[in-house]
Amino acid sequence: MNKIKAFFTRENFKHIFSSNGANHLYSSLICVAFGLLLGFIIMLCLSPNIAGTDFLMLITGGLVYYGSEGFGNILATLAPLLCCGVAIIFAYKTGIFNIGAAGQYTLGAFGALLFAILFKCHWTVCLLMAIIFGALWGVIPALLKTFCHVNEVISGIMLNWIGLFFVNYSMQTYAKGMVDAGDSFQTFQFWIDGRGPLNPNYPYNPAGKLPNLGATSLGDCFSIAIFIAIIVAIIAFIVMEKTTFGYQLKASGYNRSATKYAGINAKKNAILTMAISGGIAGLGAGLYYLSGVERWSAVSSSILPQVPWNGIIIAFIAQMNPIGAIFASGFLSLLSIGATATSQSVFPKEIADLITSIIVYASGLTAITLRIVPWIKNKIQLKKAGGVKELPLNKEGK
């Protein structure tokens, strides 16, 4: 009890708000504000009359315009985004840039849908298969990196496309039962709203859908996916910060030679990291497709799914913090839903993508924004103290 009391003291809050983590948060917020501001200016240029209202709609539309169903939609799109973000953060912390998340995501989607539609398994099994498929696909670049010294970015990008075409080809040749030939080669919707299948030949597997805990007012798409994703993010954070495993992984991300010196098996860790990262990305796909937001389109998908790429964006906005990723992905899905609520005739819905990309560019300048925060603080202090000159500089900055 005393501990909790001690936590809520003024000093402790002061300490928290001036800590390094808080600085990262502020600098992220600066980037977000910068992105929004620039987006607003662009909207002003496009149409000054309705820019104000539509900008508000862009930000709040997801919550307001579509009502509670919109909120359910936000949560449903948030879950896979968050998983992909966490997958990338996890790998990035250990010094691997997992650009192959898209491939792992694709394989995860395949695993989940294969077991949901063809084998009619329970959703837990489907999710597990999504994780395993994603993990296996993630291990390939890791093996190539550790044993053949192939750069993980190159092999990752290649494996993205290999994975995509492998999945589409398999669906059309070996697993034909998955593809709904009547509906432009999309996969079957394995679950149709409790009423049973429209056609007795259609695959029908209500057990495959993620449960929605009876929250029907949040729309069809809402499910427990969001909770699973948040739990994954929190576990990832705990693993990174509190465990010996995370200690090893981060150390090898910072200094590979030193981890070798310390007797840490860097190769094993790299493979394990990529398996975990790929598994999380695959899980994201499972959460997305098993909640029934969308069906996999096996022919028109000659482009890679967008979600894992947005995962990279989230990782950067969150400044590689899994907890930050929860908010970043929430913000991103809010924007993308809100963008559909703006006046489509005047503002293309890509305005949301535009704003997020501006934010990403801005967060690329973290080094600068991280300095802005102490600078502002210093200014405030100066005003309070009445002008004592003290520059915020690194100690012994060599």
């Binding site: 509190k242 465990t243 495993f245 200690y247 910072y254 200094n255 030679s257 981890t259 500089l393 012994e396």
Partner: protein
């Protein structure tokens, strides 16, 4: 080269640098507090102080890398404001940093002229192209010289020579000029030289034509004559082409640099890429960089920390040469014997404040060290005689590859280290010591050979096993191997045993125990940092980083200790501590394998000395029965005599 006239009378000598009341704060800490520094023109002025005493900071202020919070700087009597290193360059201040600022893949020449390239149309040629151009340049020279008669000889030189510059120099020496003329030539601007060359070319071509016409009819066949005509037209074209492209400017720079290098006795090969250079050569590159920019005030930041004894000697000689040419030298160091050897005056800094300035003539090394540390320091290590026990480590036929897996840099090494003795591997840097240690500590896999530790055979490359069995390793490169710089100090202090049950439970890190452990080691080993256990390893000074590593490695109560240059870049007070600790480990019955390039350390610590030369152990000595001179003979490969006797036990 412009010569500055220097008045040598010390009392009246004008001041090159005057720093008045410089104060610099990093957060709440004073790095420099009211520092006053007066450096006379044409002297070697040493700055002495422990790590973190503020030597580097004050020089960084002079070089414009930091700006002082308070105080004034006067250069040659004029008050100036130095905002960045470019300003310093304009004031003819140059600095050789402790960690060299060179581009690894570029040749020495490019590193020297970098930022001052005289490229045409922003094109810089690459090494391969330059080699091709060398061939064309060859023909130019062949025209210049009496190529017709001496062609075979010429080709011979070219084949043997390593670099285009040395080709030029060799050729001029051989065919054209005496040594004084070569000097003059090297000092001549290339624009004049090309004129000379063109005239010579014309003359030679004419001569050749005459000879071909007069005698050639008898000796030479027509195709041969046509061939020579072709060669000469090619040569003329190549000469023209060279003049039209920036290659001439590169050559000009190369000529100028060679001239400077010759003047100051800097041995250098302009075409070797930096990554293939020895540390000494890299440093000479840095020095040439300053000299090429006409700097008059030269700052050396701990230049000898990375050098072998021989390289140190030659560096000190270079500094004397520079002084003789009227350059002012500021020499940051904490090595007393170097100061006594070259410096005219010393300013001692302690904790950011000036303790005093003394003439080296009127002082002794012991006095200086007392001033620096602020208390009396024992410069010699006290060591009791102690019989060594059983062999802890047995190395048999250990053979190691070099970095590129091209050749063996360690050639079947055989030796034992017994419990309770310090075995030192002496030798010049780069004779395979590094790879030998990598093999023993498991950082690299050996080609062949076996290592026995206590009763176990060590698996190649298995560091975990070595950790478990009780081998500690103080690595040579503390930034690369010893520390994770972005981790906190307490995290670094458990780098090797973070999985120990004291620090982890069910895979979760016990942060409180780690913090406690860190605080214990910090107080025991006097590791100084800004925020104690919480400060990041990166923010700590080099000496304290080293202390942290030593604290970590010795706290593990090892049975065998590998220490590679444990006192590199560490101040006198800390060296004393580190030596004491290593001797204490030995007295505890630990086998110690020490690698050191400093003979002082070798003689004061070791119970047995092994000398390595070109990957082989060439001699074994008892430090009490040998001399530096004898070791030197073995270290340079002049003598070798090592027979390994297997101990029967």
């Amino acid at each position: 080269m412009k010569k500055t006239v220097v008045t040598r009378t010390h009392s009246e000598a004008p001041l090159a640098v005057e720093m008045i009341n410089i104060t610099k704060k990093f957060g709440p800490l004073y790095a420099n507090k009211n520092v006053n520094l007066k450096i006379k023109k044409g002297e070697i002025h040493a700055l002495l102080g422990e790590n973190g005493a503020g030597k580097s900071t004050i020089m960084s202020i002079l070089f414009g890398m930091y700006s002082a919070d308070e105080g004034k700087i006067k250069i040659n009597g004029k008050e100036v404001e130095i905002k960045d290193p470019n300003d310093a360059n304009d004031l003819k201040i140059g600095m050789v940093h402790q960690h060299f600022k060179l581009v690894d893949i570029f040749p020495v020449l490019d590193n020297i002229i970098m930022g001052r390239e005289i490229a045409k149309c922003h094109f810089l040629e690459d090494a391969k192209k330059r080699r091709e151009k060398n061939v064309t340049r060859l023909y130019v020279i062949s025209g210049l010289l009496r190529a017709y008669e001496h062609f075979d000889e010429l080709m011979d030189i070219v084949k043997k020579a390593k670099t285009p510059t040395s080709v030029l120099v060799d050729l001029y020496n051989k065919f054209h000029l005496t040594s004084s003329q070569t000097d003059a030539l090297l000092a001549t601007p290339l624009s004049e030289l090309t004129v000379l060359r063109r005239e010579a070319l014309k003359r030679e071509a004419k001569k050749l034509r005459d000879s071909v016409i007069n005698e050639g009819t008898k000796k030479e066949s027509l195709p041969s004559r046509l061939w020579w005509k072709f060669v000469f037209s090619l040569a003329r074209f190549a000469d023209w082409f060279n003049r039209k492209t920036h290659n001439v400017d590169r050559a000009k720079a190369a000529f100028e640099i060679t001239a400077i290098a010759k003047k100051y006795g800097l041995e250098i090969d302009l075409d070797t890429p930096i990554e293939e250079c020895t540390v000494g050569m890299q440093q000479r590159t840095e020095i040439l960089k300053m000299l090429y920019r006409d700097s008059d005030i030269l700052i050396f930041d701990e230049p000898t920390a990375v050098l072998t004894p021989q390289e140190i000697d030659s560096l000190l000689q270079i500094m004397r040469n520079l002084k003789a040419e009227g350059k002012t030298i500021i020499f940051i160091t904490h090595k007393l014997n170097e100061i006594m050897a070259v410096a005219d005056r010393v300013t001692i800094l302690r904790r950011g404040e000036v303790i005093g300035t003394v003439n080296t003539k009127n002082t002794t090394a012991a006095q200086l060290s007392d001033m620096m540390v602020g208390r009396h320091v024992n410069l010699t290590v006290k060591k009791t005689n102690k019989a060594a026990g059983k062999a802890v480590l047995k190395v048999r036929n250990l053979t190691m590859f070099d970095k590129h897996k091209q050749k063996n840099v360690v050639q079947s090494a055989n030796f034992d280290v017994r419990a309770g003795e310090i075995v030192t591997i002496a030798g010049i840097d780069g004779n395979g010591q590094r790879e030998l240690i990598y093999g023993i500590t498991g950082l690299k896999n050996p080609v062949k050979g076996s290592i026995n530790f206590l009763t176990n055979t060590l698996k190649p490359g298995n560091i975990k096993q070595r950790n478990y069995l009780g081998m500690s390793h103080i690595p040579e490169d503390r930034h690369k191997h010893g520390l994770v710089l972005d981790y906190r100090l307490d995290q670094n202090l458990v780098l090797r045993d973070f999985q120990d049950k004291r620090f982890a439970k069910y895979g979760f890190i016990l942060n409180e125990n780690i913090r406690k452990h860190a605080n214990k080691l910090i107080s025991e080993h006097d590791i100084r940092s800004s925020e104690g256990a919480k400060s990041s390893a990166r923010s700590m000074s080099g000496g304290n980083q080293q202390k942290a590593i030593i604290a970590r490695e010795l706290n593990r109560k090892p049975k065998f200790l590998v220490a590679v240059q444990p006192t590199r870049g560490v101040d006198v007070g800390a060296i004393e501590q580190i030596h004491k600790r290593i001797v204490a480990e030995r007295d505890r019955g630990v086998g110690v394998l020490l690698v050191s390039y400093e003979l002082d350390e070798v003689f004061s610590l070791s119970d047995r000395i092994l000398v390595m030369y070109e990957g082989e152990i060439v001699g074994e000595f008892d430090p009490k029965k040998t001399t530096r001179q004898e070791l030197g003979l073995y270290m340079s490969g002049a003598k070798r005599n090592y027979q390994f006797h297997e101990e029967a036990n």
